[in-house]
Amino acid sequence: MLDERPSMPVTVGPSTSGPLHNFVQKLGEPRVLGWIAVAFVLIMWEVIVVAAHLNPIYLPSPSQILVALVAMFKTGGLLGDLLATLGRIFGGFAIALVAGTLLGIWMATSQRVSAIADNFIAALYPLPKVTLIPLLIIWLGTGGPFMLTISALGAIFPIVINTVLGIRQCDPGLVLAARDLEASNRQVIRMVLLPSAIPSIFAGVRLGIGVSIILVVAAEMVVGKVGLGARLYLAGQILETEQVFAVLIVLAILGVAVTKAQDLIDDWLSQWRLS
């Protein structure tokens, strides 16, 4: 097939539209490139570990880690640890969400409650919550109540603060409109203030759940008998480095899953945007 238009530049050399070219072009796409980089690092890691005869105590190869991960799930009870950790994170987080939202509403609608709570929040919010672990162990022991408390403590402050912020930012015109339609104070809170604050509350949830994850895993490392943090610490103690990596992978996947879930909720929240 000849190009009849002489003004068209004619490319000489290898075909530019063949399957090989398409393949190379696909490799250059940013998403694909990202995964290729991951694969490249994993392969280089494997090759270097095998070629240099590295002691797996220092750096196990990816294939060894994978074997350890599968074994831990099959016979090592890692699933139970995962579920225990998830239960602690989300159990505490659920407590924080309910208590934090209620306290936030109360603070936003009553200047007195706000004045009373403000100083305590100002003192406790910036405090690194891990520093509360020894005190909480003295008070609550190391069982379920302790784990739920530490998890809830991590999440509650950003949730309270963002609930107050969200409600205070509510368009006063919407409250007027609701009252014009005969809404009672409780209905104004439930049908106007709370829904209008949901995007802000969710911003608090985003911050809070990250802190909950950190605190639960840290607490498990200190005192846990089950849970991902406990497994991580134990594996480190007995120099089972493959298992250390395996737990880290599970934690990383947990983090990715939480982030993805938050993105989905963000999409749903877009209906709050006015324009």
Binding site: G173, L176, A177, D180, E182, A183, Q271, S275
Partner: protein, 270 residues
């Protein structure tokens, strides 16, 4: 049904404290009567307290002095019950997280009505303002004119005896405003509902109202009460009538000095 309820505004004053702490007198001894089945327009320069006055009439704000009375037009005594009222707002004040039909049904939901009946009535109300088919859209998906028709439907679905209109077309472009003004004129003429219209458009006041209250610059007082005797139904062609231009000139004459005064107040406080 009796002759309806008149609303009497009796020596109403409102003073509030500005951010600096200094007292600001927004309304000064305002008295007038809103007659049942009539449209009363309140016109005045911006900042004269006319929207505030509307909220006092609605009971959303308490006056510093004076009171609002509801009078049975037949007996002349105090009415047994407050008339049902609903407001249409300048900024629409639609709930952005609710669909159109959920916005319209808000007041019915507040009153505890079952969902199926709520939706049914909201749909009917939306048909009334030519918005059938937009039930499941969100306010952000609608134009300004459509949003205000949702606002109107949300008020009408409550079957108000008194419709309060707070600069309902102030946020709309000029063409949309003309069309909605005519639609509203037809709606109030047909339903015979009592309406109070706050506006700064002389044209809008004449087109819609039976009585026009002209307010002064802050502190707001009633400068004049003007009857509009132009024939109904009114539309844009009403503006060609000879009575229209003399009425327009009369109101403009009253307003002009007040608007200049209001601008001076704004400059001083800025």
């Amino acid at each position: 049904m009796g002759m309806g309820v008149a609303i009497e505004c009796d020596d109403v004053s409102l003073t509030y404290s500005a951010k600096s702490g200094a007292p600001v007198e927004a309304l000064q001894r305002v008295s007038f009567r809103i007659h049942p089945r009539r449209v009363t327009a309140v016109i005045g320069p911006s900042g004269c307290g006319k929207s505030t006055l509307l909220q006092i009439v609605r009971g959303l704000l308490s006056p510093s002095a004076g009171r609002i009375r509801f009078i049975d037009a037949q007996s002349g005594g105090a009415a047994a019950t407050k008339p049902r009222m609903a407001t249409v707002w300048q900024n629409f004040n639609l709930f952005p997280w609710r669909t159109v039909v959920e916005n319209v049904g808000f007041g019915l939901e507040v009153s505890g009505m079952q969902r199926s009946e709520r939706v049914e009535r909201s749909r009917r109300s939306l048909t009334q303002v030519d918005l059938a088919g937009f039930e499941n859209k969100y306010p952000r998906q609608l134009s300004g004119g459509m949003r205000q028709r949702v606002g109107l439907a949300r008020a009408l679905v409550m079957e108000p005896e008194v419709l309060l209109l707070d600069e309902p077309f102030g946020a709309l472009d000029a063409q949309t405003r003309l069309i909605l003004q005519e639609q509203l004129a037809r709606l109030v003429e047909k339903s015979g509902t009592t309406a109070v219209l706050v506006t700064h458009s002389i044209e809008e006041a004449i087109l819609l109202a039976d009585t026009i209250l002209v307010m002064t610059a802050r502190p707001g007082r009633i400068a004049a009460e003007i009857r509009v005797e132009l024939p109904r139904p009114r539309s844009m062609t009403t503006t060609h009538l000879s009575g229209y231009s003399s009425l327009f000139d009369q109101i403009y004459g009253l307003l002009r000095d007040e608007v200049v005064k209001a601008m001076t107040i704004e400059t001083e406080s800025a």
